[in-house]
């Protein structure tokens, strides 16, 4: 019954979202404030209906209602509760439900926070949100209905892919979608700006927090996905350049560019058409990702089961939103007032270069991901574009961006005098080279390792130097303290994020360059030695999980005589799906990760295949990303973002014309 109610609410939600789209348009045509104002209420109502619908689906999962086809296909009564809940979005239909739930949440948030945005702009934004919402709700109802009943009902569910039973994987879609869908708000604001042909500095102030918010969520979401791949796939790698990973990476690159260009747009009231274009492209990349994951045009390990009719529907959405918005851009962007001037050597100039690089990087990832399709269409040949390609083009692209990032915060706005910071740059450069040379001297490393470590130190020192220089301008101790307190949160955010990038680079470089990998086969009692650590294979025992059987090995790891820990890698067998998986065990310390994978058992001589990876500083990858995300949050908490949503109260009445 609840399921039918949920289904009904979803159908109602579709009509509400259509109203949310249409009524503001009528309002503008008829100059009716009342019709415009309905958009707020529509967004409230849409949120309530979608939430109810979502909860009813979730209830079907929790109560293991196998009369619902989706639940029967994807759940299992023996699954732990947490995976029943997260299983809701572990499939195509349910993940779309999460998509529109997040969308409704954003529209709701905008309606509430944005009380002071001029009604006309706000209702156009909400109207575009309504269009997106109705397209996706329609998509669910017409091609991917999660509420269909099964006759006769199944007694037991069909479980789901065992490697998907992981907490990192289970919680990463919500973050990812908070990121993807958050970009819809910047998209809708851009559409509003294009329709009204005005993008003033207050407009960009409304947009920026949403870009920052989505970027932060996207960063966390991608990191969680990558963390899952690291812990679960069993190769000690954390990024595989799979089409689905790329699908989340492209919006991130575009959002990163957007984040930077919107700083220029806000501070200096320029680069507005470009910022709008980036906002359109960032959301389009989200849609494109949806298309890639769900249409089956590309091969991927992560892709959902595909169905051509869904592909066509998403293609139509892509044409409507991306095609429509880019056409509107082509028509109206030239009419936007061009902004203030700046010299190529200035903070803005540096951000322009950052934007060029990030856009080129996003375009390159897009090219590599889609190239097999192009070749197939043009020559009927089949080619693959794999990690080796992406690695060899992406890193060289990023090097200049990092070099630039090390000193560009020191540049002044508008027109920087290079002579002023010349000495500092040389100083940081020399210090970084010296430290790197020293490190490479004691550990031995190639040119690439040198470059990676150098870039990391360069960025770190540059960021720290800039920060201290601003703080230490105060003469007395008190003055310095005051400066520390009053230093804007957004500036702290930037420093944190850049330091995060530096930590990330260090982690990525060290963990790859100095990774030790041992493949061997062991019997009980055998010893493996990695980097002065002794691994003793002590015992093996059988274990039974809710839906698997496992061989669990015990490895005793002694770093020295007093420091001993144990690791328990598993080899699991899932009878329901007849799949063997390895469950790696990881000893994660601040300065290194020890990663053990238990492989096939050799029945003849009771040997187990074992792979051991020792990766120094691997945790720095996650710590770096955490810093980046924390920087985003810090920046969001800056007063100025709230101010832009509050100060307009006075003008509110003037705004409806």
């Amino acid at each position: 019954m609840l399921v039918e109610l949920g289904h009904f609410c979803l159908a109602l939600a579709l009509s509400v979202s259509i109203l949310q789209f249409v009524l503001p348009i009528i309002g503008i045509k008829l100059k009716s404030t009342r019709a415009l104002a309905t958009s707020t209420y529509s967004s409230y109502l849409f949120f309530c209906l979608v939430s109810f619908s979502f909860i009813s689906l979730m209830w079907a999962y929790i109560s293991s209602d196998f009369s619902v086809a989706l639940v029967a296909q994807n759940s299992h009564s023996l699954k732990p509760l947490i995976y029943k809940v997260t299983g809701v979005w572990g499939n195509h239909e349910g993940s779309l439900m999460l998509w529109i739930l997040v969308l409704s949440l954003y529209s709701l948030a905008l309606s509430i926070i944005g009380k002071n945005i001029p009604l006309k702009i706000k209702s156009i934004v909400l109207s575009v949100q309504g269009l997106i919402a109705s397209a996706f709700t329609g998509f669910i109802l017409f091609t991917s209905n999660p509420f269909l009943r099964l006759l006769p009902p199944k007694l037991e569910g069909e479980g789901f892919n065992p490697i998907l039973q992981d907490i990192g994987l289970a919680i990463h879609p919500p973050f990812l979608y908070l990121g993807y869908v958050g970009l819809s708000i910047t998209f809708s604001f851009s559409i509003a700006a294009l329709i009204l042909k005005q993008a003033d500095s207050i407009w960009i102030k409304w947009v920026r927090p949403w870009a920052m918010l989505s970027w932060t969520f996207l960063t966390i979401g991608i990191a969680l996905g990558s963390w899952w791949a690291y812990r679960e796939l069993g190769w000690g790698g954390w990024w595989f350049w799979d089409p689905v990973e790329n699908a989340s990476f492209m919006p991130w690159l575009a959002a990163t560019a957007l984040l930077h260009s919107s700083i220029v747009a806000e501070k200096r009231n320029t680069l507005k058409a470009w910022t709008i274009l980036l906002a359109l492209i960032a959301f389009s990349f989200s849609l494109l990702g949806t298309f890639i994951v769900r249409s089956g045009v590309l091969v991927s390990v992560h892709a959902f089961a595909s169905d051509p009719s869904r592909g066509i529907y998403i293609l139509l959405m892509l044409i409507l939103f991306t095609g429509g918005s880019l056409a509107l851009f082509a028509k109206n962007a030239p009419k936007l007032k061009s902004g203030n001037m700046f010299s190529p050597i200035s903070r803005e100039g540096a951000i322009v270069i950052n934007n060029i690089i990030f856009s080129a990087a996003a375009a390159t990832v897009l090219l590599g991901t889609l190239y097999p399709i192009f070749i197939d269409a043009l020559t009927a040949n089949k080619v693959s574009v794999g990690p080796p390609y992406f690695e060899s083009v992406f890193i060289p692209l990023m090097v200049p961006a990092i070099l630039l990032c090390g000193f560009s915060p020191m540049l002044t706005w508008k027109r920087a005098v290079f002579d002023n910071i010349y000495e500092r740059i040389i100083f940081i450069f020399i210090v970084s080279i010296l430290i790197t040379s020293f490190l490479i001297y004691i550990r031995n490393g190639s040119a690439m390792t040198f470059l990676g470590i150098f870039l990391s130190i360069w960025l770190f020192l540059g960021t720290i130097y800039d920060f201290f220089e601003r703080i230490l301008r105060g003469k007395s101790f008190n003055e310095v303290a005051k400066r520390i307190v009053s230093y804007p949160r957004s500036a702290y955010g930037m420093s944190f994020a850049h330091i995060g990038v530096s930590i990330f680079i260090l982690g990525a470089t060290m963990s790859t360059a100095y990774k030790t990998e041992i493949e061997t086969s062991v019997q009980i009692g055998d010893k493996i030695i990695v980097e002065n650590k002794e691994l003793i294979f002590e015992s093996i025992k059988q274990n039974q999980g809710p839906n698997w059987l496992a061989d669990v090995a015990t490895f005793r790891i002694s770093h020295n005589e007093s420091d001993i820990s144990f690791l328990y890698p598993e080899r699991r067998f899932y009878p329901a799906s007849q799949i063997n998986t390895s469950e790696p065990a990881i000893l994660s310390r601040l300065f290194y990760d020890l990663y053990i994978v238990l492989g096939e058992k050799d029945i003849k001589n009771k040997n187990f295949a074992v792979r051991v990876y020792y990766s120094p500083l691997l945790n720095f990858i996650w710590i770096g990303i955490a810093f980046m995300a924390f920087g985003g949050i810090l920046s969001l908490s800056d007063k100025k973002h709230r101010v832009s949503y509050k100060t307009l109260r006075k003008n509110r009445n003037l705004s409806i014309k």
């Binding site: 796939l233 080129a360 375009a363 080619v383 574009v385 794999g386 690695e391 890193i395």
Partner: protein
């Protein structure tokens, strides 16, 4: 990202003093160069059954066979390129994760440069346009100059 770093690892392994190599690898095979080359090849070849993995990551039976075959060919003294060619002859270029530098893949390889180039052209246009328009507004015509001078003079008096 890892590719270039991988080269770094290899370079590192080649350049590091032998004492750095771990001696305890229990089944150290006689020909470590072959193993090294084999591993490089595994990473550059696609597992055809579970398509988005490289051979290295795959435990599929066909992948295991292919790995065995690759090792044998390398032991026979075949070069990496010869092994690759052998596999391409049978499975097509699809098996290569690192696309070849051929006419067909030309755009794939020069694409990143084109994108950067386009970006730079736009930035250049942007700055020159700015300078042109700003020059226009910044220089005053003689009449204006006279006027400004006049106002300034009046003020000074």
């Amino acid at each position: 990202m890892i590719k270039l770093f991988k080269y770094a690892v290899i370079l590192f392994l080649c350049s590091a003093p032998s004492s750095l190599y771990s001696q305890n690898n229990t089944n150290l095979e006689s020909n470590s160069l072959v193993l090294q080359q084999a591993k490089e090849l595994y990473e550059e070849l696609r597992c055809l059954v579970c398509q988005n993995q490289s051979l290295l990551e795959s435990e599929a039976p066909l992948a295991l066979d292919l790995k065995e075959l690759i090792k044998e060919k390398l032991k026979e003294g075949k070069t990496k390129k010869e092994v690759k060619d052998f596999l391409v002859e049978r499975y097509g270029e699809f098996i290569l994760l690192l696309p070849t530098l051929s006419l067909q893949n030309l755009f794939l390889w020069i694409g990143p440069f084109i994108f950067l180039f386009i970006g730079i052209i736009f930035a250049y246009k942007f700055y020159t346009n700015f300078n042109r328009s700003s020059n226009k507004t910044k220089t005053l015509n003689p009449a204006e100059k006279k006027n400004v001078q006049k106002i300034l003079d009046e003020k000074l008096e």
